[in-house]
């Protein structure tokens, strides 16, 4: 079964294709979303097309499917629309699928299920990455706030950190918030002594 993957995120496309390969589905075609979509699909002749739901090319794709001679049979999203739980899960995960009509439900179901799991794995990864980025940004701002305090109050680093932490505890806010306020006010009032 040849599966084409069109995704605005190349990372996610890679995650999906890895998953499909592990499951023994190795007839995969990665479509370059920046290239000529229609020509690539025409050349690939896939039986299933996996595409991220928010892909801006979906209307164009559907128009192509409706007119297509390359994919002779009509195309529908999901073979069995009565399986609302599975389709709901796919929409939630942000995956949409076009399936060449006539492909049996037994064959397509595992592909969709797997795609859903890989989309979810990608979202998890994205979340972790965002959190890591935030943590990194927080550490930077705390370091800058400490440097400002050290210079202005001529104290050492542990003392600067203790000041930050003390203020955070008294006002029931996070250290990063206090640090951000110090950095901001320094940027605005820094040259006033």
């Amino acid at each position: 079964m040849r599966i084409a993957i069109i995704d605005t995120s190349t990372t996610r496309a890679a995650i999906i294709s890895d998953g499909l390969r592990e499951a023994g589905l190795d007839d995969l075609v990665l479509i370059d979303p920046a290239g000529a979509l229609v020509a690539q699909i025409e050349a690939a002749k896939p039986e299933v097309i996996l595409v991220n739901l928010e892909n801006p090319s979906r209307d164009l794709l559907e128009d192509f499917f409706a007119m297509s001679r390359a994919l002779a049979r009509p195309i529908a999203m999901f073979v069995d629309q009565s399986d609302t739980e599975a389709t709901g899960a796919a929409i939630d995960a942000g995956v949409s699928a076009y399936v060449v009509d006539g492909l049996s439900k037994q064959r397509i179901k595992p592909v969709i299920d797997l795609a859903v799991r890989r989309f979810q794995a990608f979202s998890r990864l994205q979340r972790e990455l965002d959190e890591a980025k935030n943590a990194l940004a927080e550490r930077t701002v705390i370091d800058r706030a400490k440097a400002i305090l050290m210079k202005r109050r001529t104290i050492d680093e542990p003392a600067a950190y203790a000041l930050l932490r003390g203020q955070a505890m008294r006002t029931n806010r996070r250290i990063a918030e206090i640090a951000e306020a110090i950095v901001t006010s320094d940027a605005l009032l820094g040259d006033m002594e």
């Binding site: 892909n55 559907e62 629309q81 929409i91």
Partner: protein, 403 residues
């Protein structure tokens, strides 16, 4: 009483105004319902979220709701349109090069005259092996049908003499800028944005092609209407109140401020303001011109879902998909529009309610009083640019007349 929430899908377009304003200005809350808006970038996604229950209703191009009910390209799902969100409001914009070749002026021209000039350019471009290419927002869109109606009416065969491709509204101006298309037919503010960017010149308002063309609708799965009838009617009252407010003098600035926000249209506030005050800047740097009823949101019971309008869209689907007429499909298409629900929702409100559910489309020249069961109803001109009229009871005769 608990508040029922409607999740409503939409695309960033000026004619998504009514659900957005019903939410922002408290019309929904006043009717005891809540609206949560879900923004997408393609009609396919708006439709899928609706079909699979991610949303309860959607701002949708009218033909797509009908195509979905008829099972075009996918299994059929019963659909219902109890409210029309607006008439017209779209435009045809040419690339700067095509505008020059066709000799567009700085006022809106006669569709027949512009069409005749376009026909010559199209023939030359076809002979040179580089046919003109137009972008429309979806295969099943009023944009596609309006553009085709106009092209065919001036002697340009849409599928033989030019190419028509699909591009999502937020990307239409980009496609024009990149030279992927020579013209676009899209809703506002995307024509104005093409003009502001200096890549396009507005050739026609779609209102010049069909003076009262049905545009976006509120689409739902039929099952939602059956299961949540009272709340649906409350929602329609909220949308109707938002429409009345929308056309009040002095509200346009506030509406434009809200619609332009990043979470809604994320677009130029000035372009939005011009669209909702029926003013359009045709050429980069020029003074906007006033074109009355460029966009039509309220008067003349504009929100009433006339079954004859659904039937016209079905006729165009047959015409351009080269499909055969089916009495069963014609009945299904017309039944997607639900004047009965509209009437029930607005009974006793003072809103004019037409007595009929269908009318001859394109048959009115001068303003005409129409039969109503409530309120006074006067309908303005609803002419097609070629003067033809559409009788919903004779779809086959209408189509035969074109061939």
């Amino acid at each position: 009483m608990s508040v029922e929430t409607f999740r409503i899908g939409f695309l960033p377009l000026v004619d998504a105004a009514l659900p957005i304003l019903a939410h922002e200005l408290g019309f929904a809350a006043r009717e005891g319902v809540a609206i949560e808006l879900v923004r997408d970038m393609t009609w396919a996604t708006v439709r899928d979220r609706l079909l699979y229950g991610h949303t309860d209703a959607a701002h949708m191009i009218a033909p797509l709701a009908i195509a979905t009910a008829l099972g075009r390209d996918r299994p059929a799902v019963p659909m219902a349109v109890p409210f029309v969100l607006g008439l017209n409001g779209n435009a045809v914009t040419f690339s700067v090069a095509l505008a020059r070749d066709v000799g567009l002026g700085d006022a809106l021209g006669d569709p027949a005259v512009i069409g005749a000039a376009l026909r010559d350019v199209a023939a030359a471009r076809k002979a040179a092996g580089k046919p003109l290419r137009f972008g429309v927002v979806h295969r099943y869109s009023s944009h596609n049908y309006m553009l085709r109606y106009w092209l065919a009416g001036v002697g340009i065969r849409p599928d033989a003499d030019v190419e028509i491709v699909v591009t999502s509204p937020p990307f239409a101006a980009d496609a024009l800028a990149a030279g992927e298309v020579d013209g676009i037919c899209v809703g506002e503010p995307w024509n104005s944005i093409a003009v502001e960017r200096g890549v396009g010149h507005i050739a026609l308002a779609t209102a010049q092609i069909w003076r009262r063309g049905v545009e976006k609708v509120l689409a739902m799965r039929e099952a939602v209407i059956d299961e949540r009838r009272d709340a649906v009617e409350a929602l329609l009252r909220a949308l109707h109140a938002a429409a009345a407010h929308f056309v009040e003098p002095g509200t346009a600035e506030e509406s434009a401020d809200i619609l332009a926000r990043p979470e809604y249209l994320g677009a130029s506030r000035d372009a939005v303001l011009r669209a909702i005050t029926d003013r359009i800047r045709l050429v980069p740097g020029s003074e906007p011109i006033h074109y009355p009823d460029f966009m039509f949101q309220y008067r003349e019971a504009a929100n009433f879902p006339w079954r004859s309008q659904a039937a016209w869209l079905y006729s165009q689907m047959l015409r351009w998909d080269r499909a055969d007429y089916s009495a069963a499909d014609a009945a299904t298409a017309a039944a997607v529009f639900r004047p009965d629900v509209y009437r029930a929702a607005l009974a006793g409100s003072g809103a004019p309610l037409p007595g009929a559910s269908s009318k001859l489309e394109g048959g009115i020249g001068e303003p005409l009083g129409a039969g109503s069961t409530q309120g006074r109803l006067v309908l303005g001109s609803d002419r097609f640019f070629d003067g033809r009229a559409f009788d919903p009871d004779d779809i086959q005769g209408y189509l035969a007349d074109f061939s």
